[in-house]
């Protein structure tokens, strides 16, 4: 019966140790902003932060994150980097269908948190694990630059 720290709240959960964090968040805790896309860490739709680092939650056993700080899209706006990214996403109208965008935003927020002024190559490297079928990549690139340059 693992206890998790999700978005600043402790949650005691009756789930198996090997259950991926994605399904704990979505089906047990009810935080549906984190998305299921591929199930094998190929698409990035399920990206969350564990101790501030972007992780694919679809293959992450819940037992491995006990005692760590889990942040999801629902709370990323409370961090300075997350709020910057969300503002840039809105200002540049990055989003189309929006399904992958929560994962994109989590990856982007982690990027500018660790690297406040990323180059194009660094953006590509950090974001190439997040697939968008609507093809919002050009705007994602611009939005990350705008966010990194904003106060």
């Amino acid at each position: 019966m693992p206890t998790l720290l999700i978005n600043g709240q402790e949650q005691e959960l009756d789930v198996p140790d090997d259950m991926p964090l994605l399904w704990v968040l979505r089906d047990v805790v009810g935080l549906t902003g984190t998305k299921f896309g591929c199930g094998i860490a190929l698409c990035g739709a399920c990206t969350v932060h564990v101790d501030g680092r972007p992780i694919r939650s679809c293959i992450l056993p819940v037992a491995s994150v006990v005692g760590k700080k889990i942040t999801t899209i629902e709370a990323i706006g409370e961090t300075a980097s997350g709020a910057k990214i969300q503002r840039a996403w809105l200002s540049l109208e990055v989003v189309q269908c929006g399904y992958c965008q929560t994962g994109q935003i989590m990856s982007a927020a982690a990027l500018i948190e660790s690297n406040p002024n990323p180059t194009d190559a660094e953006i590509d490297a950090a974001m190439s694990g997040n697939i968008c079928r609507c093809g919002t990549y050009p705007r994602i690139r611009t939005a990350i630059k705008q966010a990194s340059q904003s106060a």
Binding site: G37, C43, I131, G135
Partner: protein
Amino acid sequence: MLKRIDDEKDKEERKGFSRRTFLVTSAAAGGGLLLGVYLPRSIGAKAQVADGIFAPNAFLRIRPDDSITLIMPQVEMGQGTYTSMSMLIAEELEVDLVKVILEAAPPSDKLYANPLLGFQVTGGSTSVPGFWEPLRRAGATARVMLIQAAAVQWSVDPASCRAEKGEVVSPTGQRLNYGALVDAAAKLPVPDKVALKDPKDFTLIGTPAKRLDTPEKVNGKAKFGIDAMIPGMKFATVAACPVFGGKLKSVNDSKAIAIKGVHQVVRIDNAVAVVGDHMWAAMQGLAALDIEWDEGPNANVSTESIVEQMARASQHDGVVARSDGDVAKSMPTAAKRIDAVYEMPFLAHAAMEPMNCTVHVTKDSCDIWVGIQVVSRAQATAAEVTGLPPERIQVHNHLIGGGFGRRLDVDGITQAVAIAKQVDGPVKIVWSRKEDIQHDVYRPYYYDRFTAGFDAQDRLVAYHHRVTGSSILARWAPPAFVNGLDEDAINGAAKEMPYAIPNILVDYVRDEPPGLTTGWWRGVGPTHNVFVVESFIDELAVETKKDPVEFRRSLLGKQPRVLGVLNLVAEKAGWGTSLPDSVGRGVSVQFAMGTYLSQVAEVEVSKEGEVKVRRVVCAVDCGQIVNPDTIVAQIEGGIIFGISAALWGEITLRGGRVEQHNFNDYRVLRINETPLIEVHLVKNTEAPGGIGEPGTIGIAPAMANAIFAVTGKRVRKLPIKDQLRPA
């Protein structure tokens, strides 16, 4: 912002999809999917829906608290329709766009039919072209009635009053907000005719308005079908027979049932589902099943067997789709003839949101939570599976996490309802990515034959194009499949083919591949035809030693808007300027979904044969522009969607089974592979064209033509994959 309730008053209007609503095919000029024109009934005479609500038509509800609700006939899947539809109504109603609250329309072909397609459907890039007039009229009607109500109260001439920002203003500057007028307005007769604003007076249409759906899509609050959470709900995942047409023979579920959290194993005709406390339990349960399939008649089908059958079929004369002059006479006498065969693969949609559907069946009701492009068909299939009357079926439509045509079919709902019938309480059925890719309805394989004839002066005098492939219309809209001709399969090849050639013959051979179902895919018929036509035209330019842009210009004298976008893109792309040795430039033009578009792609081919698109320049003339930023976004995204397919997109079959599984072997473009994309819009006041699909259509031929320019190798079969790798 996005509210979802079913309007109780609309229940009586609910009806399943009726074939009667499909008028016989009369594909309107340039329409992507224009099957017939069904005009919505005139706006009803009853203005009042319920006490205190002003509802002059099926689309609008204005309440005393000033709230303005648009009953949204179209479904949002990224294309921006929630915003553009709202802009149409807000422009005429004279309210701020952000004041518009959206509710997904309940199933009703009568009230919410797509004016261009005849029933309740979002597809074929028809939302703006179809609702351009009805929604502006709906807004204008309400505005006229609200002004009338205010004028009566003030005892002034309505013509002396005006509406602005949700208020009626009198000649002396008195103001009444709409909420204060709803009671009086609801008692007025609905006018038959109202004047629409002159486009020069538009203040909202044509501006880059902010999308209404974005705020909730950046903070995790947006609800897609897969996010439905119903109290007491269980979770299920499913495996259908891996061979299409096969059946479930037997299943040993003893290991699955023993897994903690697994509740139930549900058997239906051709699939088995495991129901659990959460998706993880269901997934583990499914993996633990010992399933025996009866693979049925398609167990030996392969891509090779399908293509062999198609190649044979393509040798027979087809149904004539276009005939100008006399090809039978002019071709044999041509001084020179060029032949080519083109092939395009089956494609999956691979939308980011995997197929899913949440259902609660009771003895006298069925509720469905899903994102679907065909709401009334969702209701109809649930009625059929449950045996309940349609009015007992509630469809709660949701945002769609990428449609691209996939949610124009209700197979996932049919299956989910069949499973849910055996489950006590609500159940959410989610497909794995593998299930999603292996049980798609696929973009058809096409096999195209071309012959062109030149006279002794190297003038193009005869042109024959034979399309061979599956008919989606014959399955999806049988009344629209008339005399053996599938208007979609030849869309972009026949009357939309823009080049002036004295003798033209285009014919269609229907050949249905065994072992899979074909369906709509972004860009529909033109995605196929524009690739083959624009590639072949490029071959003809090369054959006559002409520049590809110059050659096209010489055949486009009677097509000013095609010529317009071609000239604009050539200028913006720097056509004819020098490039590095490893980079080539290719061009394409198209007329589809009422929109004219031309693209230039710059493609780099390495010594190892690796293909990378560096830059794409695109010129778009879609007539009247509703939201320019959405148009640019749709073109950018459409191009990227098309690049993925052109480079790698391919579904293949072996032993009746789809061979691809996930994004590793059904590869799609990533950010590091994305080119620079520049979009240039032509401004005019022609009728608005569609924009969701056109970007996808012309990118593959522009890429293939660029590859020829740099390597001298003609890509006649997609995907490009490793065709350029040195032998």
